[in-house]
Amino acid sequence: MPSLLNMIELQSLGKTFYKDKSNLEVVSNISLTFKANSFTALIGPSGCGKSTLLNMIAGLYKPTSGDILYNGKQIVGVNTDVGYMTQKDNLLPWRTILDNVALPLEIAGVPKKQRHEQARYILQQVDLSGFENKYSSELSGGMRKRACLARMLLYKPKILLLDEPFAALDAQLRIAMHELLLRLWEEYKQTIILVTHDLIEAVSLADRVIVFSPRPASVAFQKEVDLARPRDVLQVRFTKEFQNIHNTIWDYLQQQYAADRLTYAK
């Protein structure tokens, strides 16, 4: 059963940036496992090193210490099983939306007709039909996000790394994106790691919420989210169970905040 496997394993992972003579330790001694088809949300203060952690999982950065295992094997170079979505929509501005979404297939060498067919289908799924021949500058922020999601899903990555992908969207659009994400996750069964600042977002989507300490990032607190699936993103936040989980994490964050304020006051 692949779902029992630890798909991603971080073993006392650390990352330090060396710049001139000063060292900046960004990630410190993180040990975590992510099961296949799990949905994990990471929260933590701004600049604490969450994005660096994702970059390491994607294989874009090399860890300074510790190991990352993917399906039991150490990651060497970029992990092409990863779909990465950041706050910035990294669409290529000189390509139409259709060609942007079809890009992963183009790279894989899929013939034009086939890749366009598949791209059209996935664009339909994210409700972007009719925008195939537009350029990204002609689309709204939400549409670009959906195009990114479509592009990421098209090459069927086994892991989705989502780095505050919905932070810049308005509340309604964000919920629409949440629903879309959960629907697609149920269909394609990826392993998702979502970085967010929004505790409600974290609890309503994920199986597990991990709270990081201020920089250097280390695991400060973990909480399982055992809410039933499938979840109604709009309604789940009003249930008793949700409130309990939310409040537990919130209490922890409050304590951390109070402690930080004390250290800053000194």
């Binding site: 994607a58 990465y84 990294n90 290529l92 501005p93 790279i107 350029y135 500058s137």
Partner: protein
């Protein structure tokens, strides 16, 4: 950005843009004619016509060259060296720019040498090139190319350096090879920068050729300038300069047309 929008809105105002356009065009013709008129009247009265000739004799000379068809061999010679030199310089500049921008080691290693070469007056290489490549067309091509190559190199280098590393990472995660990263991300993203270099290099290709022809040649517009000057034929010098300028304008327009076609997305985003 907001400023751009305002001017765009102003231009959309009915009739405004057209009126402005035609008015400016007429004004430009009026200014041109006025200068020619002053020149014509001033020549022989205020300034010795031996020194500045006059528009009427210049146009007579031009007409004579065209009527006897003697001008074409010169235009062809200049155009040929300019275009070949331009292409060689552009290709070399683009390749060097990409290679160095992608190789931090070599760009650091070669940096002082490149800037030293760039700062040296490349026109001063003309005597050397004549020595190396002979009196024929090759030395003119070399001079045109060497003027072009640095301009294109610098802008290509800058263009490749400004490529968004996030875009590169994005396609890397899709499993793109190095060649695919180059052709699908780096080159398209650097294209507007490369175009700026190429466009600014066009007149320099022409200048390189003309200088080469002036120093040692038996044909070409530079040779024509040189010969007319040595014969104290001021009208001939001016007539040659007019032809050179016209070639410069035409080459620039041709390039602008190519550029506009290949950058449709840029026009849309405006």
């Amino acid at each position: 950005m907001p400023n751009k929008k305002i001017t765009k809105n102003l231009k959309n105002f009915p009739g405004h843009a057209d009126l402005n356009h035609y008015f400016m065009f007429i004004l430009q013709i009026v200014v041109g004619l006025l200068v020619l008129l002053l020149w014509e009247l001033g020549s022989g009265t205020i300034v010795d016509s031996f020194l500045i000739s006059e528009p009427s004799s210049i146009f007579k000379r031009l007409y004579g060259w065209i009527a006897t068809k003697s001008i074409w061999i010169h235009i062809w010679a200049t155009l040929y060296s300019t275009i070949i030199g331009f292409f060689i310089g552009t290709i070399a500049g683009v390749i060097a720019g990409i290679c160095l921008a992608l190789s931090p080691f070599f760009s650091r290693l070669l940096n002082p040498f490149i800037w030293a070469l760039n700062a040296s007056p490349k026109v001063a290489l003309a005597p050397l090139f004549i020595l190396w490549f002979g009196l024929g067309i090759e030395s003119k091509i070399a001079l045109a190319a060497v003027l072009v190559v640095f301009l294109v190199f610098v802008s290509t280098y800058a263009g490749v350096k400004q490529v968004d590393p996030d875009l590169v990472d994005t396609v890397k995660l899709m499993g793109a090879s190095k060649f695919q990263i180059l052709t699908k991300v780096i080159l398209p993203d650097a294209t507007p920068w490369i175009y700026v270099g190429i466009q600014s290099a066009i007149p320099y290709a022409l200048i390189g050729t003309i200088i080469g022809e002036m120093i040692a040649s038996n044909r070409g517009l530079g040779y024509l300038v040189q010969r007319s000057g040595s014969e104290f034929d001021t009208a001939g010098v001016f007539a040659s300069l007019i032809v050179i300028s016209l070639i410069g304008v035409v080459l620039n327009q041709v390039f602008a047309l190519i550029q506009a076609r290949s950058q449709k997305w840029k026009l849309i985003s405006r």
